[in-house]
Each structure stands twice: as C-alpha cells, then as structure tokens.
C-alpha cells in the first residue's frame, strides 16, 4: 500500500521515523558516495573505495546495534512497511558481516583481475542495502523492492569478469532464472493481495500486502478468497525457494556459483541466502501464522499446515539433493555450491520448527537458531571461499579438485585453515558449524517434544538431517584427503597471502572457533527483543 496514498487518505500526520531505517540509509548513502568517488578516482586509488565501503558497513552495523540496544521509539514505521524486531536486526548484522568480509576478500582480487574496484564496491553496497531492506520489510512490496535491488546488483556482479565466458554464462543464467523467480514472487504477492480482501461492516475492504495485516486477516478467517491465498502462498514459496536455493528450485545454483568470480560466489552463498531466509521467515511465519486450536478447519490452519508440510518436504529434498549431488562434483566451487544447497536444507529444518512452534518462546528460539545458522554458515563459507580464491589464482583457473592435489604440506597454513572450514561445514564439534546444526536440530526436536501428535515428523526431519551430515562427510573429507593424503606430482607455487586476505582468514578462523566454543552470547543476543518505546536505557 502506497505510503503517500495512506497519508492522503488519512489526512493525519505521517507515520515517519527515520532513525528506524538509519542502517539502510547509511549503507545506501555510502554506496552512492562510493559510486560518485569512483568516477573521480584514479586507478591506483582503488583501496579508497574499499576502505570507504568498510567504514560505511561498520557505521551501518553500529546503527543496527544502536537500534537494538537503544531503540528508535517504535517497532515499526511508514505504516508498517518497515519493522523493527530481532529477526531484522540479527539478519541485518549477518548481512553486513558478509558484505564487509566480501569487501576485504575482493580488494586484492579486483586489483589482480584488472576490474573496476569502485563499481564492484558500490554494487556490493547496493546489494547489501537491498538485503537489509529484505530483512526489515514488513510489507511484501518492500521485500520485493529489496529483493530486486539485491538481484540486479548481483546479476552484474556475477558477470563482472566480462571477458570470461563462464562468468558471462553465470550472469545470464542468473539473470534469466532470477527474473523468472521474481515474477513468481510478484505474482504471489498480487494473488495474496487479491485474496486478503475482506468485508468490514457494509463495504469491501481492499486486500493488503502488509504482513502483519495479512496475518491478522488470515487468523480472523474472514478473507474473501481463501483459494487465492493458497495459490499466492505457493507462488511466493517458489519465489523465495529460488532465492535461498532449495531443491527443486536450485538448478541455477551450481552453474551460477561456478561461473561467478569466486569472491562473488562467496558473497552470494552467504549474503543473499541469509536475506532470503529473513524475508521468507517473516512472510510465512507472521503472514500465515500458526493458530493452534482456534477455529477448526479455518483457512488459517489450512494454509499454515500446507506450507509447513511443503517446507518440511522441501527441507528433506534440499538436504538430500544438495549432499548427494555434491559427492560427484569435481570442481570445488561447484561442490561448495551444492553444499550451500544442503545448508539451506538444514536451515529449513529450523524454519519448519519456527513455523510449527506453539508458543512465542519456542518460536523465538527457532528463529534465533536460523539466524545463528546463517551466521555460522557465512563465517565458514566465506573462509572457505577465501582460500579457494587464493588457490584459484587469476581468472579462477585452479578450481578443480585435482588442483588441490597434495598442497597440504606445501602451503600448510592455507590447507589447514581450509580443512578447519570444511570440518566446520561438516559440523564437527568445537567449530561453529556444530553449534549451528545443534541449534536448528534442537529447535525442531523441541517443537516435536511439545507436539506429541506430530513429533515423529520432526524427529524424522532431524534424523534425515543428521544422516545427510554423514553423507556430507564424504565430499568435505575428499578435499582434505586430496590436500593432505596425496602427493603432488606437478609444479605448484605457494600463493602469496595478501594482508587483506590474511585478515579475512584470521577473522573467519576466530569466528569459527568463537561461535563453536562460546556461542552463548551471540545466541542470546539474537533472541533479544529490540528496545521499544522511547529511547530508553536497557536494564542490564
């Protein structure tokens, strides 16, 4: 619903709270600034744009934390188009973290590939602002807007190595299939808008795209076209499913990830996936909420059951397809692409748990678990891709598994860090991946234990997740085996690790162990509600 139209109709003072979108504004503004500076910059000064981007992201993160701890006076603004809750804040932080690491990852890389750094950084920041909007949108339209900002920037970034055919292919494929999925999402939004028209008093009230209002109307059970609601929800499921790469909407992932420049792949696997989860969660959990024992066989219970079961099945398919297909890959980037599909499946387990939660605490736990999972995935995934970037050299030439043959003791630092990331992706204890998996699986079992009737469903979901983890051991270990247990026969020069790259590796390694050993603080923080009301001090 157009904000100004509301303002026109209402004729009251507008519901505007700019501090609430401070992080988005900062990142967007810095993106414009970077673009502008880039126009005046000489080629030798590319680190300036990188540095500026980092500063901007840091400011955005600071603003997010400020929103979280101090609050901005209300929990929503622009008539509910922007909301302020722990999902938004936690995912925003994840997304900013991913972008910041991608900047670090790319500083030297752009140099080496002779690419325009400023453009890359501004595109990255635009994509970030899109992702932040996806996390903060309380309205389907805002979410779509964020999605498009993100997607368009990512399409370009995929094809950033203009002279490389694989990169072109990746970009074009992503563009065509991405537009296709956006259309699905948009159509779903339109259908939901149509479906949620309702009768109030004597007249018909038009539909809504506001998620909270959709939720209310669905709960009340007085929407005019329940059948359309199902169709709309299904279309949106497909649209979001594409963005987070759930099977069977995953087919674009391997090709796009393989062809895109490695730092971009790292970014895409971690950032847009997290943002996609943020809005996916918000739309389905708050838009089509669980209503427990209310109103038997109302449209609300039906639509909730429908998407919950659909997602449970999707989670199973996604985990299995991702892991099984990853086993047969011979390209490391492709393998990590399939592994990212599998990880989307694990996170979906938490999603299902959040959807099935019967009380607010359980739901908050499950939502925090998914956000935490995305954070852990971002950390280990970016770390792994950092090493892959280093080993790939210019033009992403060395990305086959054979290129890793026997490099273990030639470049022990790189190989051991990569092994740690792989073990973390596998979910070995003491690493972030383990706690992430425990968190999502635990939330599913938690829901199962409090809903005895359906408990076997959740147990099965978790058991399949666990068995998939075991399958994944095979391909993660394969890379370790190739690196350490084989001998290299051909010449191989140890890649030099530039300072920015070293910083990325140090941050991600520390992150992997910090989240693996002391995840408590982060988990608690992700569950914390933002300070509401006036700007008040949080009691500590």
């Amino acid at each position: 619903m157009n904000f100004f139209a509301v303002a026109l109709q209402a004729g009251t003072s507008p519901d505007i709270n700019f501090p609430l979108i401070l992080p988005e504004m900062i990142v967007c503004g810095v993106a414009v600034l970077v673009m502008f500076l880039d126009a005046f910059m000489r080629r030798s000064q590319r680190w300036v744009t990188g540095g500026l981007s980092l500063l901007g992201l840091a400011a955005g993160a600071a603003a997010t934390i400020w929103l979280w701890t101090r609050g901005a006076g209300s929990l929503g603004t622009f008539n509910g188009m922007i909301v302020l809750d722990e999902i938004r804040l936690s995912f925003t932080l994840v997304v900013i973290f991913v972008s910041a690491l991608t900047v670090l990852l790319s500083v030297v890389w752009v140099e080496g590939e002779h690419l325009p750094a400023g453009e890359f950084h501004s595109l990255l920041l635009f994509a970030t602002s899109g992702m932040m909007l996806m996390a903060s949108g309380g309205d389907l339209v805002i979410i779509f807007l964020g999605l498009e900002i993100l997607s368009i920037a990512t399409y370009v970034m995929c094809g950033f190595r203009r002279t490389d055919l694989r990169s072109n292919e990746s970009s074009l494929k992503y563009f065509i299939l991405g537009s296709f999925s956006s259309a699905f999402l948009l159509y779903g939004i339109a259908l939901v808008y149509g479906a949620t028209a309702t009768v109030r008093g004597s007249g018909v009230v038009a539909g809504t795209t506001n998620i909270a209002q959709i939720g209310e109307r669905v709960m009340a059970g007085d929407i005019m076209y329940p059948a359309l609601l199902f169709a709309g929800a299904a279309f949106m499921l497909v649209g979001f499913g594409f963005k987070i790469a759930t099977a069977p909407f995953h087919v674009w992932t391997p090709d796009v990830y393989e062809g895109a420049p490695t730092p971009v792949t790292a970014f895409m696997a971690a950032g847009p996936k997290a943002a996609g989860f943020a809005s996916f969660l918000r739309v389905f959990i708050f838009g089509f909420p669980f209503v427990g024992a209310v109103a038997s066989a109302s449209s609300a219970t039906n639509v909730h059951d429908a998407w919950l079961h659909a997602l449970a099945i999707l989670a199973i398919i996604t985990m299995s397809v991702g892991n099984v297909a990853a086993i047969v890959q011979n390209n490391v980037k492709r393998m990590l692409a399939y592994s990212s599909i599998a990880h989307a499946g694990y996170a979906l387990v938490g999603f299902v748990a959040a959807g099935a939660a019967t009380d607010a605490t359980q739901r908050a736990d499950a939502l925090a678990a998914v956000a935490f999972y995305m954070l852990t995935y971002a950390v280990m995934n970016l770390g792994a891709f950092a090493v892959v970037t280093l080993i790939a050299r210019q033009n992403d030439r060395r990305t086959e598994v054979e290129d890793y043959n026997g490099i273990g003791f030639r470049a022990p630092a790189l190989s051991f860090t990569l092994s740690i990331f792989l073990l973390s992706l596998l979910g070995m204890p003491l690493t972030a991946g383990f706690i992430g998996k425990v968190a999502v699986f635990a939330s599913a079992l938690n829901v199962g234990s409090s809903a005895p009737a359906a408990s076997s469903l959740y147990t099965i979901l978790v058991v399949i997740g666990v068995l998939n983890t075991a399958i994944s051991a095979y391909y993660y270990l394969r890379l370790i085996i190739v690196m350490f247990f084989r001998e290299r026969t051909t010449e191989w020069a140890v890649p030099r690790i530039p300072a920015s790259m070293a910083l990325v590796l140090v941050i991600t390694i520390l992150g992997v162990f910090y989240l693996g050993l002391f995840p408590g603080r982060v988990l608690d923080a992700f569950k914390r509600k933002p300070a509401s009301g006036a700007v008040t001090q949080i009691a500590r």
Binding site: L423, P429, L445, V463
Partner: protein, 526 residues
C-alpha cells in the same frame, strides 16, 4: 588449586603442548625438538593424571571426584561439567600412559611431517581425556567427535598403502553413529524439559531425575534413544557386524595410531555403553541384553576365527581386538558385578596387551618393512629381547594366568555364568569361553611362525634386536601386565563402587524381577 582444576589441566595441557609445538615449528624449525616437546608434555600429563588417585581411593564410593561445573552455553543450557569416578579413572590413566609410549614408539619411524604428527597426537590426547571425564552429554559428544579428526589425519597422512580408504571409512562409520547419538542427546534434553521444566544435558541431573522418577522416558522414546546411543558406541567398540572399519583402520594406521586406536578409542565405545546406555536407560538395557550378548559372542568367535587365517600380523592383532572387545560387551551386559568389573578390567588389559602387540609389530615393521607372517620365522635367534616381549604380550592377550588377560576374562566369564539377565547364560558362557581357546590357537600359531622355528629368510638373520628406547617403552606395559595379572586389587577396588552403582541401577530399576536383585545380593556377599 592444582587439584581443583586437575581435569581441566589434564585436558588442556596436551593442547597447550600442541600450540607450543606449532609455535616452536614456526620460529625455530628444528625437526629434532618436536618429539622431545611432545614427549615432555605427554609425560607431564601422565604424571599429573596420577594425582587422580589421591581422591579416588580404594573402596571409595561411586561419587564423582574432581568435579568442575561452569556454564558453557547458557542459551542451550550446556555446562562444562567434568568429573572422575572409579570407572573413568583408570581409562584416563591408560590414555595418559599410552600417549607418551606411542610418541616414543614413533621416535624414529615418523620422519616426514613430524610436527603435524605430534600436534595431532597431543590434540587427540586432549580429546580422549575429555571423553572419559565429561559429565555433560554435549561436552561428551564434543570430545567424542573431536577425537575423530586427529585420528583421521594420522591414518591418512602417515598410514600404509590403503590409508585413504581406511581413513575415510573410519571417519564416516564413526561419524554416522555419533551423529545419531547427537539426536538422542538432544531428545533427552527435551524430554527433561518437558517433564522437569528445564532442559539439561547434565549427566548427573538427568540421572537424578530418572532415578527419582521425576522424569520418565516413555518406552518408545527410550527404545529409539537407547538404539541411537548404542549404535554410536557399538560402531566404536566395534561390535560385530559393525566392525568392518576396524581391521582396515588398524592395519593402515601408523604404529602409534594403532596403539591409540586399540588402546583408547575403542574403549570410548564400551565406556559409553556402560555409562550412558546402562546408566540412563536401564530398562532398555535389560530388554536389549540378549541381543547384545548374542552379538558379542558372535564377535568373539568370529574375530578369533578370522584372526587365525590372517597372513598379516597387524591384521591378526586387529581382528583379535574384535574378539576381545566382544568379551568386554559380554561382561557389560551380564549385569553382574563380576562381569562388569571384568569388562572394565578387560578394557584396561586390552589397552595394555594389544597396545604392546601393536608396538612390537611396528618395531619389526620398521626393520623389515613387511608384516606378512610368511616373511618371518625364527626371530628368536637374532632378536631375543623382541621375542621375549612378543611372547609375553601374546600370552597376556590370550589370557594366561598370572598375566592381566586372565583376570579380566575370568571375571567376565564368571559374571556371565552368574548372570540372570538373559536365559541360557551357561550356554553363552560356554561358547564365549571357547573364544579363549581360539585366542590361544591364533596367537600361538602366529608366534610359532614368526618367532620360533628356523630362519627361513636370510634378511631376518641380520635383524638388530630392540634398542634401549624400544625396551624402555615396552617395560612399563610389561610391568603392568604382570602387576594386573597378579594383584588386581588396586584396580578393581577403586572401580568397584561405581560399577556396582550402574549394575544396581540396571538390576533394580523399576520392573526388575525380584529374584534378580536377590541374586545380586548374593553375588555381592560372595
């Protein structure tokens, strides 16, 4: 101070050693120092672990000593909770003993990438100690899994011909099992949350709640949770038919790796069965006992028969492990004090004897670069010291009276005979007892072909005998074999109350047959 944090120190010290090694490697790069640093740290750890004996005295009760409890992850409700009782005490000490021994055994044989080898060894030691002393299920799982990685690298990097296959198989087998256990652990957490208000991973809290009946695991849940735990542990033990990773892993691993694998890693499985399966779900343990007994007996006989026909000495010892660990499982599921004490004792025996056997096999492999039985023969002439040790270790493995193996196996068989946990216990005992005979057959036959007889290959005549280092590292094991065979009291009396507590829990838990506990009382008086 030292005493209060002893367990933490024991866990961290090897890791600190590993970090020190890495630091040393980064700055000095002196290849010859690595082994000394590793040895230093492992010996200190061993010395410190002996301090555990100060609080777990003879005839001490079943309570946990050296307890430490700090909140680890508040959001999940997991505590860093450590403690040692009579059951874990000796396993910890066995671990800390075997690590320096295996470091010594790799003194000259690990030449390439020595730094990484010792780093992995020390990290492995931390993980192994952690497994035996953790009292929080999540922490236990953490160490249980963490022990996989260094071993995986050790087999894969320093192993034999088929090391990649063996390492992958080892990792995936064990990971599958333990991941299912993770599901079981989380399920227990939420069962406790459902019934007692707050979820917990804490072993003692769970045990208390279950004992007092505040928390009752429904039968179907208990069934699956028990299976999840049992699956993980049985792969680790390994119980027939889940044993197939073991011969490969043992054979391909470097000597030190085999020693640690056989000596400690396998015990994690039986320890887990004893501590968690029996402790937390005694009814299910009773229900499943007949199946376990049958599988254990099949394992005993099968392991022995297969060992007999192995042409490779190391593989023979590996299969003998399957057989011996079958005895341990049999003892555990006899649910009698004798049987379970025997099982615990047999774990230690197996660690010592099989460890020694692997060390000896490694020593001749270093000299001859072959392990085929047919390549040897008549080693007694050129290598008298070696042959003496080899014969003693083999006899101990067979279970000759006055050597450690006898005590363990005798107790287990006695316990099985007295057991009322399953019918036809005397049949089980008799079949299992033939396992001892088979052991004698394969071991003695192997000895005859390797140590005695004529020298059939010229190279063997020129083999040098054990040097001082090798004798030195075998002596402690040899002394242990004799002491444990002659004077088991200090060992058994320390573990007794803890074992009896578990046994009582199984036999007396709700729904136990009356005659069952009477029988147990009689046993105790005897």
């Amino acid at each position: 101070m030292l005493q209060d944090n002893l367990l933490t120190i024991l866990i961290l010290l090897p890791t600190v050693g590993a970090l020190a090694l890495i630091g040393h490697g980064l700055f000095w790069k002196r290849e010859n120092d690595y082994r000394w640093i590793a040895l230093l740290f492992s010996v200190i750890t061993f010395a410190l672990s002996l301090l555990l004996l100060t609080r777990v005295g003879e005839n001490s009760d079943a309570a946990f000593r050296f307890e430490q409890k700090t909140l680890w992850i508040g959001a999940i409700g997991s505590y860093y909770h450590l403690g040692v009782d009579g059951m874990s005490l000796w396993l910890v000490i066995l671990t800390t003993l075997l690590v320096p021994v295996s470091i010594l055994s790799s003194w000259n044989s690990i030449k390439k990438r020595a730094l990484s080898f010792y780093v992995f060894m020390l990290i492995l030691e931390s993980a192994m100690i952690g497994v035996f002393v953790s009292l929080d299920l999540l922490i236990f799982y953490l160490f249980f899994e963490a022990s996989l990685v260094p071993m995986f690298f050790m087999i894969g990097i320093w192993g034999g011909e088929r090391r990649i296959y063996a390492a992958t198989k080892f990792f995936i087998y064990t990971a599958v099992g333990s991941l299912l256990m993770l599901v079981g652990i989380i399920a227990l957490y939420y069962i406790h949350q459902q019934q007692a208000g707050a979820g917990t991973f804490d072993y003692l809290t769970l045990l208390d709640a279950l004992k007092s009946g505040r928390v009752v695991i429904t039968e179907s849940s208990a069934f699956w949770i028990f299976l999840a735990f049992a699956f993980a542990f049985c792969i680790k033990v390994p119980l027939w038919p889940l044993h197939t990773w073991l011969p490969d892993a043992h054979t391909e691993a470097p000597t030190a790796g085999s020693v640690i694998l056989a000596g400690v890693l396998l015990k994690m499985g039986t320890y887990g069965l004893l501590r968690f399966n029996l402790g937390l779900m005694p009814e299910m343990a009773r229900r499943f006992a007949p199946y376990f007994v049958v599988l254990a007996i099949i394992g005993i006989i099968y392991g022995a028969l297969v060992a007999m026909v192995q042409p490779d000495v190391k593989r023979l010892v590996a299969y003998s492990s399957v057989s011996h660990m079958g005895f341990v499982v049999l003892g555990i599921f006899s649910f009698t004090e004798q049987g379970m004490q025997g099982a615990l004792y047999q774990m230690l025996n197996h660690g010592v004897s099989t460890g020694a056997l692997f060390l000896l096999v490694g020593m001749i492999y270093d000299r001859r670069h072959t392990r085929q039985i047919s390549d040897f023969g008549g080693l007694a002439t050129p290598m008298p010291w070696f042959s003496t040790f080899f014969v003693i270790a083999s006899l101990s493995s067979i279970g000759l009276p006055f050597l450690n193996g006898f005590v363990g196996e005798f107790l287990i068989l006695l316990g099985t005979w007295l057991s009322t946990g399953f019918s036809y216990n005397w049949v089980a005992t008799m079949i299992a007892a033939t396992g001892v005979i088979w052991a004698a057959v394969y071991m003695l036959w192997m000895l005859q072909r390797v140590v005695f007889g004529r020298i059939r290959h010229g190279e063997n005549a020129r083999l040098s005998d054990l040097n001082a280092r090798e004798v030195g590292l075998l002596i402690p094991l040899l002394i242990l074999m004799l002491v444990m065979g002659v004077y088991p009291r200090p060992f058994l009396s320390r573990s007794r109350e803890s074992v009896v507590a578990v046994q009582q829990r199984v036999t007396k838990s709700t729904g136990a047959a009356g005659s069952f506990s009477v029988e147990v009382q009689e046993n105790k008086q005897r």
